[in-house]
Symmetry: C2
Subunit: 119 residues, 2 copies
């Protein structure tokens, strides 16, 4: 076991939740997370998002589809990658989330204890 939860795992859980809600592609999720956490002074690095997504694909949780962003190819032909659950993906994802939930609680326990013990 490590000390705190790994950033990667933390991000993966968010990505899973976002895919559940059909929310967007990598860059978009990155922006959303950055916005959501900016008040905490936390800005997830771009590389971590993509690494996390790649891992989820590797692990057979997600698969990818490519699309053009805009509907008018003349104006906007930027390619984006959307993510979806594979057949066993939803199940795997839930298991993973459950595991990470334990980790989050563990970290909360440790940190709360530290506050109690030292302040």
């Amino acid at each position: 076991m490590g000390f705190m939860i790994a950033q990667r795992a933390f991000i993966k859980v968010y990505l899973i939740t976002m895919v559940e809600q059909q929310r967007g592609y990598g860059y978009q999720m990155l922006e959303e997370l950055r916005k959501d956490f900016s008040s905490f002074g936390y800005s997830p690095p771009q590389s971590e998002i993509y690494r996390a997504l790649h891992e989820l694909v590797q692990e057979g949780v997600l698969y990818r589809t490519k699309h053009l962003k805009g509907n008018d190819p003349k104006v906007d032909f930027q390619e984006i990658v959307l993510y979806h659950f594979t057949d066993e993906g939803s199940e795997k994802a839930e298991l993973y989330k459950k595991q990470i939930k334990g980790d989050l609680d563990r970290c909360l326990g440790i940190l709360n204890k530290a506050v109690n013990d030292n302040y």
Copy 2:
């Protein structure tokens, strides 16, 4: 800023608190921390304790004194190292603790948000 608090910083705060309370030497503090956190599945590695203590000395917060562990040198001549605050040490330590408190709260905020958002 990083993601979670670093283990080193976390341990340093505990060491400072322990030195405030005159509790023991490195190995002993290690054992105590391990015992305290065993229920969380967290066992701080030995190297981190010593590294943290060395850093606190480097930073001018603590200084060291060497002693023999037992009072009877025939029975026990194991050398131990005790730590004390330097003149400016207490002040520095309090500042450091204050800083880390902010970090702890930040981490708690992030983790609680994650639980709310994903579960």
